[in-house]
């Protein structure tokens, strides 16, 4: 297991429990989807996996060790685990050039060869080199998402945690970004944990699927089984809700 949640429970300071008894893990190179309806606690779980919040009970383990606390101690972990968000508009600082945005993790994590790594990352996500000295507002949603992915892979992480990475993209762009993520997985052996309510994206990208309902895991296993032959009534309802093309 490279990243693992063990019996994790969580509540925000002023609220009811959001997660209880959540356990699941990812082995290196695999991809796991966290699915579930709105407010099920998917984003919260991702925040715990990222070490942005501490679980109220249970532990999150990275390579078998509890996530380090403290700014300095967390560095090696941060270098290994990067993230992509849903909203391609709020995830890029409008006042920074793309070069600076993509270089931010490099700078923070003590890399020195910024220029070449930024260029390599932009190239890997299929953006032209002159992207670097432009500003985010000059790009479409899909291009912005590529920039966000470039930022995440610039430090060559082993794990990518993505919160709805394709949900805000139009169908044609979505297919392209899915292909990009699949390619990064194939070429770099990237481990992917993806939160998504987009089951088509999940089916295209993820080996395993964990279904969360109101903060609890109701079903988990290989995606083809969970989505292909759901056992839990909640999962069944989830799949029945997917809008399909009229035939």
């Amino acid at each position: 297991m490279i990243l693992e949640a063990r019996d994790v429970g969580f509540r925000y300071a002023d609220g009811a429990p959001v997660l209880s008894g959540v356990s699941f893990g990812v082995t290196p190179g695999r991809s796991v989807a966290l699915v579930g309806e709105s407010a099920a606690g998917k984003t919260t779980l991702l925040r715990l996996l990222l070490g942005l919040r501490r679980p109220t009970s249970g532990v999150v383990l990275f390579q078998g060790q509890p996530l380090p606390t403290g700014h300095r101690a967390a560095r090696p972990f941060r270098r290994h685990v990067q993230t992509v968000f849903q909203d391609p508009y709020s995830s890029l600082d409008p006042r920074q050039k793309v070069s600076r945005i993509v270089a931010e993790p490099l700078r923070a994590l003590g890399f020195t060869d910024h220029g070449s790594r930024v260029a390599a990352a932009l190239d890997a996500v299929g953006l032209p080199a002159d992207t670097a000295d432009r500003y985010p507002h000059e790009f479409s949603g899909g291009q912005r998402q590529r920039i966000a992915i470039a930022r995440a892979i610039a430090v060559e992480p082993t794990v990518l945690l993505a919160d709805e990475p394709v949900s805000a993209l139009d169908v044609t762009t979505k297919v392209r970004v899915i292909d990009l993520l699949a390619e990064l997985r194939a070429t770099r052996g990237l481990t992917l944990v993806m939160v998504s309510h987009d089951l088509a994206a999940v089916a295209s990208l993820c080996d395993d699927t964990v279904v969360l309902e109101r903060g609890r895991v109701v079903e988990q296993g290989p995606t083809s089984e969970v989505l292909g032959g759901p056992r839990d009534p909640y999962t069944q309802r989830l799949i029945a809700s997917i809008p399909r093309l009229p035939r």
Binding site: E37, A40, A200
Partner: protein, 273 residues
């Protein structure tokens, strides 16, 4: 008379540079009628909806004609439009985070249009807010929360509650379910469908997802780079896409749809509970 009649609508940069962003598109909506506006990112869908309500950002200008409930929107003053907005047409935007004030409790934000347009006060206002939340399946507790304290889906439902609060004749929904999970999306689409039918509300529904559009409307207009490239019943567009762009759109949609046709391998013990 049509509720909304758009003819030769173009949207250009005020500075006059470059190509028109939206290029001479026309369509009309009768009361209670629905239309799906579909197209790739940057094709001008959102700008079209903004032009319809006279909300274009400062650097842009519209030409042509937009008649909304008898009012010419293009070139109209803000005061004229204030009367039209909310009553004649309300909008649910793509980004729930931009439609909501991050520093105001959600209950207060939903109360605002109810107070202004329906003149409700005090206890009547409170119960109307509760009813509005209930209508979009949000718990009453959400009224006391700030936008960042609820999930993405809850935020968008709050925004929908705000738009529906004044019972508009036309609801413009700009990708209102992009941030929602499938079960809530199904509920919201059913909700929009039900409310539109019940109140004879017309619907201009923007999406890039053919499958989603199929849930609320049968009629679509395909936009590509600001031009209307295809219009007609959804089934026909699917079976006979016509131009290149529509063809790639349909192919992508079919590919994602096909990914969902999963057959489980037979192995019984690999699954936890």
């Amino acid at each position: 008379m049509s509720l909304l009649s758009v003819s030769d609508l173009s949207i250009l940069l005020k500075s006059g540079e470059g190509q028109p962003i939206v290029d001479r598109i026309s369509f009309a909506l009768e009361p209670g009628q629905r239309l799906g506006l579909i197209g790739e990112s940057g094709s001008g869908k959102s700008l079209t909806t903004l032009a319809v309500t006279g909300l274009l950002p400062p650097g842009l200008r519209a030409t042509g004609s937009v008649l909304l409930d008898g009012t010419q929107v293009i070139g109209a003053r803000d005061r004229t439009l204030d009367r039209v907005r909310g009553h004649a047409a309300a909008v649910v935007f793509q980004e729930p985070s931009t439609a909501l004030d991050p520093l105001m409790r959600l209950g207060k934000q939903i109360a605002e249009p109810l107070r202004r347009h329906r003149g409700l006060r005090g206890a009547a206002l409170r119960s109307a807010v509760a009813a509005a939340l209930d209508e979009v399946a949000l718990p009453t507790r959400v009224a006391g929360a700030y936008p960042h304290e609820v999930s993405g889906g809850q935020r968008q439902r709050a925004a929908i509650a705000m738009a529906l609060a004044c019972r508009p004749k036309l609801l413009i929904a700009d990708e209102p379910t992009t941030a929602l999970d499938v079960t809530v999306q199904a509920e919201v689409l059913a909700l929009l469908d039900r409310l539109a039918a019940a109140h004879d509300m017309a619907l201009l529904f923007v999406s890039h997802d053919l499958a989603v559009i199929g849930k609320v409307t049968d009629e679509v207009l395909v936009l590509s780079q600001g031009r209307a490239v295809r219009t007609g019943p959804l089934a026909e567009v699917l079976s006979n896409p016509g131009d290149d762009y529509t063809r790639s759109l349909v192919a992508s949609a079919r590919r994602l749809d096909a990914a969902l046709d999963l057959t489980p391998e037979v192995s019984d013990d690999s699954r936890g509970a």
